[in-house]
Symmetry: D3
Subunit: 243 residues, 6 copies
């Protein structure tokens, strides 16, 4: 018996996607991305210093930070500073975001400067890490374009676009773009980051309750690709607008 998803969503249907560029005014790129009720503010700031290990290497760097507002979750979550140490889940996600964006950026062409990505979750309803990647890509492009406008770069040092989505298996049924309730109940959960040429940047699959077979893996990847194609389209449409 097929599962009835919230708002009668189809198993292979994304939640409504909204992308608002220039959501705040100080960062070089500032994007509010919404996957349904999940809302993440993704900003990109330019720093003229690179990390120590890159000093004098004539290449740039992209680093990311990810956090949740205390009121973003069903149960209020404690601020990291009040827990006394960084939240390991946040650390893991921000490493993923940074790695994904670096892999599609020509860091030599970027020059000795660093782009600082901040993904701050305003409201969390599942898929915050995938929304962060999809939104951060746009903030990154906006920040890089500001460098072109300032004459510091001559062209966009980007190989291709990326977007990310989650897929899962719930009671033997495949589902695209899990919301919080679906995510909590899934047997298997996979996050996929793909490029516009259909190549994989990151794949992270976890059997929460039940291991999955090679066949199921392939079905999940097929479904992820369906969602990512659409997300890449939304990104393009948003970037096409005069900022």
């Amino acid at each position: 018996m097929p599962i009835i998803r919230h708002m009668c969503r189809n198993f292979d249907q994304l939640r409504p996607i909204t992308i608002t560029r220039n959501f705040t005014k100080y960062a070089s790129g500032s994007v509010l991305i919404e996957y349904g009720e999940t809302k993440v503010l993704c900003t990109a700031n330019i720093d003229d210093n690179v990390p120590t290990f890159l000093k004098g290497k004539e290449q740039g760097w992209i680093t990311a930070e990810y956090a949740m507002l205390p009121s973003a979750t069903h149960q209020r979550n404690k601020r990291e500073i009040n827990q006394g140490k960084p939240n390991p889940r946040n650390q893991e996600i921000q490493r993923l975001i940074g790695r994904s964006l670096r892999s599609i950026t020509n860091l030599s062409q970027l020059g000795e400067r660093q782009i600082l990505i901040d993904c701050d979750v305003i409201q969390a309803d599942g898929g915050t890490r995938t929304a962060s990647i999809t939104g951060a890509y746009i903030a990154l492009v906006d920040a890089l374009n500001s460098l072109i406008v300032q004459g510091k770069l001559t062209s966009l040092p980007i190989y291709e676009a990326i977007a990310a989505v989650s897929v899962g298996v719930y009671q033997q049924q495949l589902l695209l773009d899990l919301d919080y309730k679906e995510d909590s109940n899934c047997d298997t959960d996979m996050n996929v980051v793909m490029t516009s040429s259909g190549k994989i940047i990151e794949i992270q699959g976890t059997a929460e309750q039940q291991a999955f077979s090679r066949a199921e893996l392939n079905q999940m990847l097929d479904l992820a690709e369906v969602g990512i194609r659409q997300l890449l389209n939304y990104q393009q449409q948003s970037l096409a607008k005069y900022s």
Copy 2:
């Protein structure tokens, strides 16, 4: 010669004030308040536990936390967790917010529960602490009303409304509701928290560069009162709407 303020604002004129209730969906009260370009998300969550020092005292408590998103400021500000210790300015402001809200709340009537206020600055252009207090008051009322709806309270345990505004002296001219640029240049800076009956809850005046006389203090308080009257009106209008 009179100072020309941004957007030709009068010396005794507030910036445009916007109040959006139910900005996010999980907290019992969630208000986005804007004083011009300053935008603060104020939320109120209910916790059935009181702090240890109040256990068994048959009264409630209100506590506040205040923080800025990294991208909220002209120059990106570092997250507290990455600085390794709480930011003392944030600590000072959150103590002020908590104290202000507690002073107009009947804590015995509230019962043994705690209201956790979070003020997260999305964009900072001066006056974030005063906007936080004005907005947090509404979030608090919304949270308390939810307790009434649930039958846990019979009436609002609030003595009177509060709002807050800054005033300053810049080149001998009084100014109401300072934006970031004005605030950085002022000789004197005062934050005032007042109740709807015109009484003072908190007054914090600081001579950044030039001490001020008792006469100047009185002029600043007169001006603050003008602004606070209007803010109290905006609060009332917002709360009058069916949430």
Copy 3:
């Protein structure tokens, strides 16, 4: 019915004030100040480095730290290092002390050096922050005089003297220079920092339990002025002695 204060003190009477210069021998200024049973060691050390944000700006800086000995309070208080994070009340007070001293110091004339003020409370019986400011002013002057003796300054880079006192309202009665017991019971509590010319440097008023009117504010300020005049006298007498 008038309140009977400890030691039959009048409502407008300071506690016995004692100022001991050169209390310890290594700091350039070292003052033990006592407001009755409240005892604070205020020291001033000279550092030839300024904070990073002032490098090359040809001006000096004054910064303050405030802490309590564990045995200073009625109930032993935990050391900050054992609580794992700075105490927010201490942070707020040390910011106040630093700001107050900077506002009466000609920082350009001071030159690219920093004065580090330490206010360590040996015994706390109310008014530790106001005693700290009054005492730290003397330690600051002693440290600056040592720079004159060394030929590094030609005159004292101080605009005017400052002192501080608390005032409160307790059962509708105004009280000057609150001790711990009075402070804990007051409806309203105000700390005032004033200069020798009668101008205000800082005013911090808090309605702990009952908001206060503009008229009450003015009465409190009148009373504070009475106390501060006397404190400025005590400072002058102390500094007049050959150190």
Copy 4:
């Protein structure tokens, strides 16, 4: 032209695997596992308390910690306590180890107790996380068997065995079980955790420099499976010995 690996290893050949049970004497399970020059001490301790969120839920838990000795790496690495905060890479790996072991354990059958896994890297030459999982599985089984011996469990609460290996693509050539030098140079890097029935527990693929296609993903998984079959055999042989 085929790549010549260290010690003339074949592209689909594991490094020499050594498993030493009872390496230390206090933990309930203590295994030194070596993947070539990579040496990890995996121990399992039993704790009769479960984490707070599981109190009274009648099920157990498995948690893992992962760290490196300072001298384990080519360049000495700083201890976490001296860096002042947990190392995010370590945090990510220990979350992976805990998740993997939990997914093959019947936590209800385990009962209200917790198994604490410690993976401490004595020497790091690539593949420390995969070696940790393979070794920790044996330490876990040893600890669970000690509970059977003590009469606290009647049978092993394990669904099936797991082992883990890395695969990579280096200059278009697939390689199994990467050593440090290979790992640093790979375009793509994947860690796979599989069960004895050939199902996937975790898959983490990262394109360090070049995105990978679906076809490449499948080849990497085929190769991982070859390695994991052998590792599962080594585990079985080791566990067959009288401890």
Copy 5:
């Protein structure tokens, strides 16, 4: 050629010793002890809770904390909270103080309560750890006597008195009770804690620059004994006074 010590002190002469009981008023024992220019405030507070590891064991505990005021040293020393971690030298000294006091206390007779000793150095001129032990002993006795007065103990749970002193070898000459300058230049440095019956509680000898022979060790211990006899006398005289 004999060394000329500061103030023409003899090689086997203590610095002037001053002991002030009841230096502050809240702690149950509060002693300012001075070894020449070294001044340490030693306080003892009673806590009705014992550490977790002693719960229900029907015995008490004594624990100590040691710290320096920032202005206590020749060069201002940073507060621990601002260094982000406990100072290891302080930790080592406070462990020594606690151990020394516990070894002469009948912890069973003390009952399930804890004595918290705080040794805060007001001015440091060498020998702060030995002065702390000698002073803390008196504060401890005062606190225990207050328990007798309250009827919570019937007699002093102390086996015998202790005091401590340093000895050193400087240019082949033995010296008692080293001041800061002597301590910094010594080849060998020894701290000795002895009881009134002449037994050793702690001996800590360190060859800073030159190892020492068994014969030298014995000479140093002879000299320490001379100093400790006098310190025990001073303690007795001080405690004999009506507090």
Copy 6:
């Protein structure tokens, strides 16, 4: 009645001592030392930077760190990073190790470089600090020899060898080289660091339960010397082997 020690060890007999050089491969010196069941990995790494306070002083430095693996102890011990602060016992021991090694090293001859010693306890059965010193000495020599091989030093900048052992008094009987059980029950406990010429570098004696006399101190030192002579022999034999 004489005490029967584990494995029928004589009162003046060391546990079996094992020294394994080159236990790991990246550090310049890497020694696994075993005193019976106590196993410590001691490594020495060379750092071309000296600490700030030695910059430009034309001398080197030796610093040590000491820690335990979580599974090294009878009851699993928490990692320092998870306790949020350095373990004071570890801090004290690492200061002892560093001080001991520096005192027999010609730091001027070493030149402006630093040797970082890491002592990581794999299994703890008493005497970990003394085993650390004895083992670290060998790792230090191996590291210094590597500097000679590289032509950076012409001869070993070591005055003489050192080794360390514990002695204790248990039920009036002297015991050499205490294991964990003996150590926990001893009335008195002493750690002695001696050189090959029989001189003392460090002596740390603690009366856990019963103060000790000068006569007992001398007996303990006699016994320590017996053990240290043998340990110095084992070191020499180990270093005589071609590494």
